[in-house]
Structures are given as structure tokens and as C-alpha cells.
Symmetry: C2
Subunit: 175 residues, 2 copies
Amino acid sequence: SRPCCIEALLAEAAEPGAPARPCPCPLPSGDTALSRLVRRLLSARRSLDLCLFSFSCPQLARAVQLLHRRGVRVRLVTDAQYMGLHGSQIGRLRHAGIQVRHDQDSGYMHHKFAIVDRRMLITGSLNWTTQAIQSNRENVLVVEDAEYVKAFQEEFERIWEEYNPANYRFFPEKQ
Amino acid sequence: SRPCCIEALLAEAAEPGAPARPCPCPLPSGDTALSRLVRRLLSARRSLDLCLFSFSCPQLARAVQLLHRRGVRVRLVTDAQYMGLHGSQIGRLRHAGIQVRHDQDSGYMHHKFAIVDRRMLITGSLNWTTQAIQSNRENVLVVEDAEYVKAFQEEFERIWEEYNPANYRFFPEKQ
């Protein structure tokens, strides 16, 4: 989608019912692909499981932080190589107290999905980067069929355990 | 999935009913994520619409070529920057007579989906590269719900027209 402002959305989620204060920035704040994604995320009440190859979009990071502050249990799995790139939001999310785990492999943790309250799967080609949101041709599927959600939730739990720091191989044994 | 051999699958698709000739290579040829993907593709009877950011896996290129030779109408949309990378299969597929179109944008054509016979959608995080297949953590969804297939088929037709060479801007006009 085109550059847009989601301040109103975030403010409403931070303080439901508070009087709306329109953001003074010049960006449009109507309905966009980004605002629809943020709305879906902000609907989380209990849990948000994130499995994201690349996460550098500050607006999405703010939405995730807001959920964490609101008491939603946020878990985030990401890719070890990409989490260190300039602009990555992973450090900021960790700093805010969000649990993050990552792979230790040369291959990529290339998933890009989120599961809201263990019932809504958001998946597709979209990495959570500003370039992807503003400049690329991308798809995002929102699926609530239990069959699909279950498969992704199981993959998430599998990865979450596999990437448990207790399993780190700091000193790989010889073959 | 682990490295595997799909020669038997391709041979069976090229000459249905011919006596099986086991491939002499040492790779396993059983059921893998790649073989399941190839089986789905080879089920095409009329059309195969491909919208792929990156396509460098030679085995998948052979499956696509085989379908083209069998008379299936193959259309391929890809990303202008990635189609020129070393190992890309796009040149080979064009050389084989397959219609290819690409974007002209600085942003990526980042979709990774295929539609078989306008009824089966194959989509997810997987780029069609050997690294993605063998080394990454990826997901591939196979969906036959008309609602999802229709949305992706419409996006495909939109992109196919948008990337029609007749629309190329060789000499961009000044703003």
C-alpha cells in the first residue's frame, strides 16, 4: 500500500474510548492494506505468535509492543541473519521485554506468518518491512479454517522448542 | 526437504505407462516436500499460471517445461531484478517457448504462487530455489477453495496485463 499513517489506529487501541485526536502528519490515514493488517493484529486478546523472516517495519513493531503492554502473550521467532540487519526491529522488541527466538542455521527461517489468539492465521509473501509494504507486489492471506491454523500453530510450537536457547550449539561437536 | 531425485516422477509424467527405469543416482527418491509439490504441478491438464519472485530450481524448471511440451498453457510472471541472477531458470524457460512477463519497477514482484488449471492454488513463503527447498524453513499452502483461488487468479490476470510488453515505458516521461 501507499505510505499511510496508522497513529489513530494505535491510539484507539492504546486507549479505547478516548477522544480521537487526529494526527497532524500529512499522510493519508484511511483504509489501506497496512491498516487492515494492523487491525487484525490489534484484535488479539490473549496471544500473538509471530514467525517472521524479516521484521523492520516500525509501525508493525509499535502495534506488537502495544499488544505486549496490553498483556497479550507475544512470542516471536525470526531469522538469525536478518535480525542483525540495519533497521531490524528485533532489538527494540526484545528490549521491550518480548520473547524472541531465532535459528542457528545457515539456511533461512523464511516463514512470514502470525497467529492471533490461536484462531486466526495471517500468512503470505509479505516480510514485515517498509519496502515490502510500500513498494512490492505481495499477498497476505487471512485464514480462520481450523485445519490451516492448526498446521501453522504446530509448526510454530515445533520451531519455538527447536530454537529454545537451551538447545544452542555453542561448541558444535565434530561429525 | 533433503536433496532428492525426482527423475522417476518426471519420466512417468513424460511417458505415462512406460516401464519404470530406476534412476542410477544415489539420491533418495521417496516422498518429500519437493516431490509432493512436483506431483501437484504435474497434475495440470490445461493451464499453469506462475507468479514467482525467484525461480532457479532446475528440477522445478524441468517439470514446467514438461507441462509446456505436453500442451499445457504455461504463463510465468517474475521479478525483473531476480530473473537476471546467476542460476535463474527464466532464460531457459523462455528459450523453450514459454511466455514470460516481468515488472519494470524498483520494488519486487514478490509473490510466490502457482495456479493449476484455474482450480488449485499453491502459495506460501517458498521461492522456487534449491536453497529454499533444501535449507530454509518454509511453508507451502495448497488451497482449492474457490474464494482464495479466485482472488489469486484475478491478481494474476491483473499483473499479466500490467506487465504486457506493450505497456513498457522505455522512455519514461518526465513528471
